[in-house]
Symmetry: C2
Subunit: 542 residues, 2 copies
């Protein structure tokens, strides 16, 4: 992972001249020139390491000295997630937080030994998988302790059991997305969980953050894909019964899922897998307006005729997508003429993806197309659908390119009922827009429906604006706070799939209620009596 | 509800002479004569009421004196659930437990007032809906308190909100199954949750016990049908965000679902509803063996081609079902000849039910039938399917008839992975059979698969044996313990949908692990610091 941004250089592609021009025109400012050269990772100042000698000795004993790293590169690698403010801080050349050491356990017994050592020596523990949090979930906050370590789980990457008859896989937390899919694929299976961070995130991270993938409308969120989970806490092991369903009391599994490392370390999870798809079909449609498209999505979902991947862009996102992808060529002019003929030149873009057996894809796609056409949808063909699939993990690279040119870009998401969808879309979009204008940096806010449920859907917002030089974080916080408050006021959830971390913690009192917070705190106190686990995340300070 | 058994006289039907003969032949003993006459409810001795005057005054103030009942009839009505041991105790003419009063709140504010009064006066609170628990979930255990009340929630039976666009209904806990479906039906909607207790159980009870309905393979368990829940605890209100999905931390909803009244009182739940079905098709099939049938069910479920209702009887249950339903007539002889011709005279019965729109039922049934036929299934027609549907809530009446004749009959259930299904079926069946034989009362054990999941299924066992007169409860406990231990040893769950109550509490340490129990206890201590909520249930004594 590039220390200052997303992914690796060979997967990045530079912003085209046309796209730069477009962004400039939209924001009303000339993008600044990208940095002529960038310092190396050693240019970022980190806080002085604070791990005391007894703690270091205890950690060396727990995992072996060669797996306790405190060099600058290792500390920097685990010092931040990949949110917009994380990247602003990284690029600023100095971080307030960095782990005092990176500790790499090989198995659950070593995790237990590390937690015992840290509880004994007053060291905070930040579980670390791929480090792709966009909500400050891996910041090395020390809490009341003298030091903090990042517990790098990527050595724990085994498939512990594969049961093709029951379609389950029991895996360790440090397995990365592509490697998980490769190993399942060898057995003709797939998990099918594709968050945008897929290439750099881990199973443990997905489970700990209640992640959703791009195809979760079809295959289900990670919460629905986890059958059982095992969690090493400072007080011992929580291990839920590995059965398809149970009525034996409250679900401890659902307590560990989404716990973001504040209760303990997920050391294994049993996941529901499925046959690897033989057929894939991705395609694009146009619908008249966002409201009409959302209503069509609702009817499709409630009729069980939804695609596996379904993204409905609002007018603003559709226009930007079209403009960014525009070639100015003849095919496109013909396409526009066709849409104009159908009365949808100003329509909204809908991407639909189907995966499964050949029969299954044909059958489901046919039913979907029939219903969507009846609702006024216009088929645009497979080209844009395939282009979306091809670029499905690329958006964070684009963010890097824009930040290089002085543009702020961030995303946030929520979910609400179908009844509240239109009002929530409008209120959150307006709040962000107003907050940006109030800073003197008017920007562009756009949105798409990203996941469908029978009772509602998620809304995924993207906003861009000229960066407020020297006050980038204040500018960002103003927009973020306005959005969060609008989401809260709309009765929606503060996060559909990004999790809570530090950035969403201020809204948790409303999200779960004051007594809900107390209940979570009581659980944490029992499982982590010395509060060493991931301080400052999920639960706002009391 | 009949004080000594299930339901109401007008829905009961006497055991046919042929069925009596058959049971006698199977068990090797002559059924005893049914009681010539039965005493009235006043013949059952209850413990002396213990509610002290200050507590009574406080409760009168909380809900109005006319809603605090302490007459014998009211106390008896809420004194027991409807398990086999409950009925043995009721019929014995004396109960160890009965509520000292029955308190009937009108709304959440009154629930809060009752909990405050009870915490203040040292009174245990047993939430009570329909009183159909089969695991001792409503026994009026006083715990460390001087008295116990049954909190009868049936006055809280409002539909608080109906959102046909988002397909959700927010309802109060005391709404009974038939009335809920009637009110939803008026809006063209259904919940579709049909536990065998449907006619006498409540929404609050379903949610509190993590119930499954007969059609849960199709519409999902109650855990999947609850979007949000509100719970009045002694420490305040827990209220989960009413959104389709969220990544905001551990799920408090999943802590309240299945909490069996030990944390607080569920005062509202938002449920996922759906369009009322226009078409229904119930039919019967025969498959060669239980193992072949289970394998076919697995493939159907994993291909998404399962029915909404699916019950696969093993050889023993099939033979008894056939014999009990036998008319000895010509159609039946022809049917047997047909099966013999297809090599399945000794086959296993499979009941499949489909509900939905006309198109949907035709499409899904067609795919199911094609796959099942390819797996060797023989179609038996709709008659037996319709007969099953007609009698779907009647089994408890049959239990009363058998008990009247000196026959023990009980059921228990579990769930496990497909890989473990055959071994679990055999081990649990053998354990029950051996336990009954060891008591000198050899019996009959049969089983069906009742619910399908991608990773496994539930197994529902029925066992009958001659009652051991004077030691009915010891006899029952021997069989129950043997079954529970076998389930535990098989790695299955102690309960798929009957919940924990008192009867399954001994297996909770294995089910959730020692630390899981401690986590639940910590949660209870925070929410119910004086431990007034439903003592003795769910959590085994520490």
């Amino acid at each position: 992972m590039r220390w200052w941004g997303w992914g690796e250089d060979h997967d990045a592609s530079p912003l085209s001249a046309r796209a730069q021009e477009l962004v400039g025109a939209m924001l009303g400012v000339e993008p600044s020139a990208p940095p002529a050269e960038r310092g190396g990772p050693e240019s970022v100042a980190l806080p002085a390491p604070a791990l005391d000698a007894p703690a270091r000795t205890a950690l060396d004993k727990a995992v072996g000295a060669e797996h306790v790293l405190d060099d600058h590169a290792a500390r920097l690698r685990c010092a931040a997630g990949r949110s917009y403010p994380d990247l602003v801080r990284l690029r600023s050349g100095a971080l307030d937080h960095a782990p005092d050491a990176v500790v790499r356990p090989a198995d659950e017994a070593q995790v237990a030994a590390v937690l015992a050592a840290c509880a004994q020596s007053g060291v905070a523990v930040v579980p670390f998988g791929g480090g792709t949090s966009v909500v400050g979930g891996v910041d090395a906050v020390r809490g009341a302790h003298h030091a903090a370590i990042a517990l790098d789980l990527t050595r724990m990457d085994r498939v512990l059991d594969l049961d093709p008859k029951s379609l389950t896989a029991r895996v360790e937390p440090g397995l990365m997305g592509p490697e998980l899919e490769r190993r399942l694929g060898n057995a003709g299976l797939t998990l099918g969980h594709y968050p945008q961070s897929f290439e750099y995130s881990t199973v443990g991270g997905w489970v700990a953050t209640r992640s959703a993938g791009q195809a979760s409308t079809g295959v289900g969120r990670i919460d629905e894909l986890v059958q059982a989970v095992r969690c090493q806490t400072p007080a011992g092991v929580l291990d839920t019964r590995d059965v398809p369903a149970s009525a034996a009391g409250p679900s401890l599994r659902e307590l560990v899922v989404g716990s973001e490392g504040v209760l303990g370390v997920i050391t294994a999870a049993t996941l529901h897998v499925r046959d690897a798809p033989r057929a894939r079909r991705y395609e694009a449609w146009s619908v008249g307006t966002f409201a009409q498209g959302a209503e069509a999505m609702r009817r499709l979902e409630q009729a069980g005729a939804h695609p596996d991947v379904c993204r409905l862009s609002d007018e603003a996102e559709t226009q930007l997508t079209a403009a960014m992808g525009s070639s100015g060529g003849r095919a496109e002019r013909l396409g526009r003429a066709y849409l104009r003929l159908r009365g949808q030149e100003e329509g909204c873009l809908l991407i639909a993806g189907f995966e499964g057996s050949d029969d299954d894809v044909i059958r489901r796609r046919g039913r979907f197309a029939e219903m969507l056409r009846a609702a006024g949808g216009v088929f645009l063909g497979e080209r844009w659908g395939q282009a979306w699939r091809h670029g499905r993990f690329a958006a964070p690279y684009l963010r890097d390119e824009l930040m290089d040119r002085g543009v702020m870009v961030d995303t946030l998401e929520t979910a609400c009922s179908w009844s509240a969808l239109g009002a929530t879309h409008d209120a959150v979009g307006a709040a962000i827009g107003q907050a940006l204008a109030d800073r003197g940096t008017p920007g562009l806010v756009m949105c798409h429906v990203s996941h469908l449920y029978s009772s509602g859907a998620s809304l995924y917002f993207t906003f861009i604006a000229p960066q407020e030089r020297g006050a980038e974080l204040d500018q960002w916080r103003a927009a973020k706070t306005a959005a969060g408050d609008a989401i809260e006021a709309a009765g929606a959830t503060i996060t559909h799939h990004h999790a809570v971390g530090r950035d969403h913690a201020p809204w948790m009192p409303t999200e779960v209620g004051p007594l809900g917070l107390e209940a979570l705190r009581a659980l944490k106190t029992r499982l982590d009596p010395q509060a060493i686990m991931n301080p400052g995340k999920l639960l706002p300070d009391a």
